[in-house]
């Protein structure tokens, strides 16, 4: 399996703080979401954009650029959210067909016949404590709110929380 590439975080903590603050969050933390990037472009040409998704997502995220904005370093600070599964090439093709139906001007761009690359997508998670605790997910690339990613992020957080608790129980003295 191909090595998971790390997309470089372009929204720093200061900008994320401002953005999430406007959205009502009171605390924030960085996170990395494990997804798959499928190349898009004209047939026979190099990619011009990428479709970021996972099997569990109903719609994919669109990332423009001929190349993925990767960094050499592995994800540094921030929780790594895993658990999503890779979409099949057929599912990616179909997903892209419906995107093009929704926006006919994209018709000439096709999902290229290359296997999707696993990536770490940088995100910022904002928390708000009111009557209930609420979560806002924004992209660490553009700062856009990623509502569609929320179920995957919540599942990842629950899994990470479960691991932490299991770890704590292991370290407790017996008896």
């Amino acid at each position: 399996m191909a090595e998971r590439l790390t997309l470089s975080r372009q929204l720093d903590a200061h900008a994320a703080r401002r953005r999430l603050g406007r959205l009502g969050a009171t605390t924030l933390e960085p996170a990395w979401m494990g997804l798959w990037a499928a190349p898009l472009g004209m047939t026979g040409k190099s990619p011009g954009a990428w479709l970021l998704g996972a099997k569990e997502m109903q719609r994919a995220l669109l990332l423009t650029g001929a190349e993925l904005p990767v960094q050499v370093e592995r994800p540094d600070t921030g929780i790594q959210l895993t658990g999503a599964t890779a979409p099949t090439p057929e599912a990616t093709q179909r997903l892209w067909l419906w995107e093009r139906m929704a926006a006919p001007r994209l018709w000439r761009i096709q999902a290229l016949d290359t296997p999707p690359t696993p990536v770490w997508l940088p995100c910022w998670l904002g928390y708000r404590a009111g009557r209930t605790h609420q979560l806002t997910v924004i992209s660490g690339l553009s700062g856009e709110v990623l509502s569609m990613l929320k179920p995957l992020v919540l599942a990842g957080l629950a899994r990470a929380h479960g691991h932490t608790q299991a770890g704590n129980e292991k370290t407790l003295p017996a008896g």
Partner: protein, 542 residues
């Protein structure tokens, strides 16, 4: 009285060609996928909002609203007074749910929540209703062409239909946001110029308009009557109109499509905000032109045309300086094409996604589905053309579009509200609610004297009540059927996870919440507009 001169015709042809060139230059012929995507992202939010407005209503507003104002003054503004409130409901309720669900057609949400029957039925209702309304949208530019050329409206409908269908099948240009913005400004320029020319042609200028308007009760925009048969009472506008616009902007795929395609919830909100702020002033502008035209006709002893939709186009053709008439008529054409293109595209997209690819041909190639969508465009174009022949009998085009929607969309809105708010409701209840909601609207509107503005309210109340009660007769929905409408983080175990993470995360500090600020802004705008109308009415009545 200059009429439509050869210079106007030249301006019209040059303008349409220029818009088509911009459309093909910036919409279809880019060389890299990046151009396509970045093209959308470089455009400021206000331009996207104006473009949404342009595809929504610009041509039919230009043609229909002055006729409305001529007939009833500003009283019909109550129909639109609720738009800021409707946008608040959309921003708070529908946009977050639709966006989080990650859907292409909003009827998919109903399938996940209630099963395939509800999705199919609701998508079918959309196709029927939007197809009929597209007929009215087609009628509008055909009428203008008829005024310009003197040909019969039926002939110009066929010409317009051929143009609109070919244009959409060939790719259209609604994706080019700047052309929509240009059209919007051309139409507003046309409106302001009409006001200037009309008012300066009156001996007393503005005082003639104000005196005539006040004497004939045309500034009485607020009617506090509780009688449900009063079509344009304030209550019909607020209660009925609110449901009308929530249903129109929230459950019609052709309207909500851009919201679904927005990259984020905030962008989706922004496009609704522009409509929330600008629709009332725009409607006021065009209704006021109707009042000025009424003054003009009265002072000059003229007989108005039988079809009041012809009022403004006729005035533009006859009174505007050479060249300007061509420009404004071209703006109407281009705006109508943009609306038709957008409507036909959404009709064919729903046909292919919600019907063809599910029931007729599953798993076909992309090219096959493209061909199917083009055939669907032709089919819906013909369907709209048939209805366009009758659109002239429906009165002002702007009211006709809303009335058609009001027969169907109330029950549809009720079904969406059940899906989102009632976690007990299920498939049986949803289908029962949808059908009885629509039957109730048709029964009430044909048997009782009730303002058509209440149609959506009746549809919502009946479909929600019946839907909920019938749901109690069968099992509650499974947890996975509620996953799109339940906010995932409210589950107790998830709350514990979020509390733990939040406690260890750095603080941001308090700042105003953007969504709340936006909604408060719309609420203030609604109060300001209502207050201004009340002041105008008070002044007019001494």
């Amino acid at each position: 009285m200059e009429g439509f001169t050869p210079i106007d015709m030249t301006v019209l042809i040059v303008y349409i060609s220029l818009i088509a060139w911009i459309g093909s230059r910036f919409g279809k012929d880019q060389h890299s996928p990046e151009d396509y995507f970045l093209g959308g992202r470089k455009i400021p939010g206000w331009a996207i909002g104006l473009s949404v407005m342009a595809t929504q209503a610009s041509a039919i507003t230009f043609i229909g609203a002055p006729g409305w104002g001529f007939e009833g003054g500003l009283e019909r503004l109550v129909t639109f007074l609720n738009v800021p409130l409707a946008m608040i409901v959309l921003i708070l309720v529908f946009v977050p749910v639709f966006h989080r669900a990650g859907i292409y057609s909003i009827y998919e949400l109903l399938e996940r929540r209630f099963g395939p029957a509800t999705r199919t039925l609701s998508a079918l209702l959309f196709l029927i209703a939007r197809g009929l309304a597209t007929g009215v949208v087609l009628y509008a530019p055909a009428l203008v062409l008829s005024v310009v050329t003197g040909w019969s409206v039926n002939l110009t409908i066929i010409i317009m239909a051929v143009l609109a269908i070919s244009y959409t099948v060939l790719g259209g240009m609604s994706a080019v946001i700047w052309t929509d913005v240009i059209q919007m400004f051309v139409l507003w320029l046309g409106a302001l110029m009409s006001i200037f020319l009309l008012v300066t042609s009156l001996p007393g200028g503005w005082s003639d308009v104000l005196t005539f308007g006040a004497q004939s009760g045309m500034f009485n925009a607020i009617d506090l009557s509780f009688d449900p048969s009063v079509t344009y009472s304030l209550w019909a506008g607020l209660l009925g109109g609110l449901f009308l616009h929530v249903a129109y902007f929230g459950t019609d795929q052709s309207q909500i499509q851009r919201v679904l395609s927005s990259p984020s919830v905030l962008d989706a909100q922004r496009s609704l905000l522009i409509g929330g702020y600008l629709l009332i002033p725009q409607m006021l502008l065009f209704l006021f032109i109707g009042v000025i035209l009424a003054t003009y006709y009265q002072q000059h002893g003229l007989t108005p045309p039988e079809d009041l939709n012809e009022l403004l186009p006729r005035y533009v053709v006859n009174a505007f300086p050479t060249g300007m008439a061509g420009l404004v008529i071209a703006g109407v054409f281009a705006a109508a094409m943009s609306s038709l293109d957008s409507a036909l595209n959404s009709l064919s997209a729903v046909t292919v996604r919600d019907f063809y690819s599910r029931y007729i041909r599953q798993g076909a190639s992309d090219t096959h589905y493209l061909k199917a969508s083009r055939l669907a465009t032709v089919f819906w174009g013909l369907y709209a053309t048939l209805f366009a022949f009758f659109a002239g009998n429906l009165g002002p085009v702007i009211e006709a579009v809303n009335q058609i929607g009001s027969w169907f969309y109330g029950a549809l809105l009720g079904t969406f509200l059940l899906a989102i708010f009632s976690h007990r409701s299920n498939a049986r209840g949803a289908v029962a609610g949808l059908i009885t909601g629509m039957l109730a609207v048709w029964s009430v509107s044909s048997l009782l004297e009730v303002s058509w503005l209440y149609n959506n309210t009746i549809g919502v109340v009946v479909s929600v009540s019946v839907g909920y009660l019938v749901s109690l007769t069968s099992a509650a929905p499974r947890a996975e059927q509620l996953s799109d409408v339940i906010i995932e983080e409210t589950a107790p175990d998830m709350q514990a996870v979020l509390a733990a993470r939040s406690a260890n995360a750095p603080e941001i500090g308090r700042e105003a919440r953007l969504t709340r600020r936006r909604c408060i802004g719309l609420l203030v705008w609604f109060v300001v507009m209502l207050g201004l109308l009340a002041l105008l009415q008070r002044w007019a009545n001494g």
